[in-house]
Amino acid sequence: MAVWAAVSINFMIPRLMPGNAIDSVLGRFQNLTPGVVKSLEVEFGFHPKGSIFSQYIQYWNDVIHFNLGVSTSQYPTHVSTIIGQTLPWTLALVGVATVLSFTIGTLLGIVAGWRRGGWLDRVMPGLTVLQAMPYFFLALLVIYLFAIKLNWLPYGQGYQLGLTEGFNWPFISSAVTHSILPAITIIATTIGGWMLQMRNVMLTTISEDYVLVAQAKGLSTRRVMFTYSARNAILPNIAGFALALGFVVAGALVMEIVFSYPGIGLTLYNAVTSNDYPLTQGIFLVISLAVLTASLLADVVYAIADPRARSRSAF
């Protein structure tokens, strides 16, 4: 359903733009080969051929075959090729950092809730200052401090220029060191949110009767804390994960731009600034689908974790 919406929106955006916008778009292109112009026209329906409906069918057909058109700024590379090159970088960085952030944040939240009033609980409001900071601002600070002032870690690009991409040690170590600062920034800005939410739900869960029963049973503290409290408290966090993904992705995109990290966010930015519309649209489509997939995954995990949800959807 949402897939359909994402694709349709992608289809509609250029068609809904007011006419003069289309002209200005075309006007912005100088010295384009007629081939490009033609592909643009087909792609965006600037000069519609056939009814809007048949265009729509054609568009779907293209999408299903990963035929997202040709990039205008890197003519004649196909949009899907460019995405294929950059997407892995983003998936690796944003995926790992987000999973790390979620896991660590949740664990800390469990501890903070269980030991409410402890030191961890008390420093937590401090962490949320990070949460309220614009991601890119934190990125700028991190670059200034660690890369420029202290010169501990490199920034910019995904790896040392001149290395060959592939499965060799210099490349991998360089890629990892280059990703540390961006990863830290992502984790720092998102961890507070996970932690706070987990802590709050923990506090609510701990006062449930079944936790009291678990204590009355004389179970070990660990079992009460994890199997009875955290196990239940994490459910809303999983549900929240699916909803928050959009924000996480947004933050990560901007971060890539600041770090000049060769992921999909930077590519999107470059595409936008060079008026490469096919590429822009293609990337948006891929991002939408990625977010959708992730949130569907979170839904599946939720259904596995909560037997009540399972029996509700089973029928």
């Binding site: 955006i13 909803l243 947004a250 600041v258």
Partner: protein, 332 residues
């Protein structure tokens, strides 16, 4: 995330002084009940709003002034926050730019919250097909990655003004609130007092406006604050990427110029730290307010002050019941 009802303190209608006084007294009473975090947050937010109103008038320089210099000037007695690389005064730019950032945040907050209340209450109260349709719609909007979508849209219309930004942010920002409000409405709808109001013969609009909405003030407020935060962060990010109108000062625009003027590489930290911190403070004030609202609506999140007075030791929720035999002494 809490869905509990937040009920403002019911203060007795004043018999003397009329309603303005009673209203003031109500505001005061509510203020007194607020958790410290919320008080701090509100104070900071009000400061920002004051800057937004009076800032442009207070700015010591014209933010657009350029001099012949070509390196940014560090903070000094003439330029408290330093200058950019063409001599523009950062402080003046901030005082001028706060207005548009705050306006985008607040207006988006208002518009998106109105949308979410309308959709949420309609879906929750009407139920049935209306609910299914509206929920489906908001779920779809909810999973759309907002920033990339905005980037794509603005790619066609770059440097458009804040009206466009506000419109887009509002159009994409309502489903969060609508979702919680819908859930809350559904649970309230079947509460006895709502059934009882129907039993009395009250029309539907009265039930919605006088029975349902007042019980959701806390939730609506939380959703408003959340939306403002989202709008501010997103609009600043868009400006930073150079996708909004760069000729109107806003905090994000200053950061854009800092980035494109290679402030980081030049070591001109004042160029981005001051405006960045301003955004961070603004954001923090909103986060703090939401903390406070959370605590208000869910007493379990609140540490009991009287327990803290028992001193010596911090009682964790799952500890065995404390035994304090010198209780009489404690109470003095």
């Amino acid at each position: 995330m809490s869905t509990a009802t937040l009920t403002p303190s019911p203060t007795r209608a004043a018999t003397i002084g009329g309603w303005p006084l009673a209203f003031l007294r109500g505001v005061l009473a509510t203020w007194r009940r607020l958790p410290l975090k919320a008080k701090i947050g509100i104070t900071i937010l009000v400061l920002f709003i004051l800057v937004a109103i009076f800032g442009p008038a207070l700015a010591p320089y014209n933010p657009n002034t350029t001099t012949t210099q070509s390196v940014p000037e560090a903070p000094n007695i003439h330029h408290l926050f330093g200058t950019d690389s063409s001599g523009g005064d950062i402080l003046s730019q901030m005082l001028t730019g706060t207005r548009s950032t705050v306006i985008v945040g607040l207006v988006t907050g208002v518009v998106a919250t109105i949308l979410s209340v309308l959709v949420g209450i309609a879906a929750g109260y009407l139920g049935g097909y209306a609910d299914e349709g509206l929920s489906l719609f908001s779920n779809i909007v909810l999973v759309l990655p907002v920033l990339p979508l905005l980037i794509v849209i603005l790619a066609y219309e770059p440097h458009s003004g804040s009206t466009v930004t506000i419109a887009l942010l509002s159009a994409l920002g309502w489903p969060w609130g609508a979702r919680v409000i819908r859930a809350q409405t559904m649970s309230l709808r079947n509460r006895d007092f709502v059934l009882a109001a129907r039993e009395v013969g009250e029309p539907a609009w009265r039930i919605i406006v006088f029975e349902l909405m007042p019980n959701q003030i806390g939730l609506i407020a939380a959703s408003f604050v959340g939306t403002v935060l989202y709008a501010i962060l997103t609009s600043v990010a868009l400006a930073f990427l150079g996708l909004t109108n760069l000729s109107v000062w806003s905090l994000g625009v200053i950061l854009y110029w800092a980035q494109s003027g290679s402030a980081v590489e030049l070591g001109a930290w004042w160029w981005y730290v001051f405006p960045g911190m301003a955004v961070a403070f603004l954001g923090m004030s909103l986060v703090l307010i939401n903390f406070g609202l959370d605590e208000l609506s869910n007493p379990r999140l609140r540490a009991s002050r009287s327990m803290r007075k028992l001193g010596r030791r911090n009682w964790r929720p799952a500890d065995p019941t404390p035994v304090i035999l010198d209780y009489a002494e404690l109470n003095r």
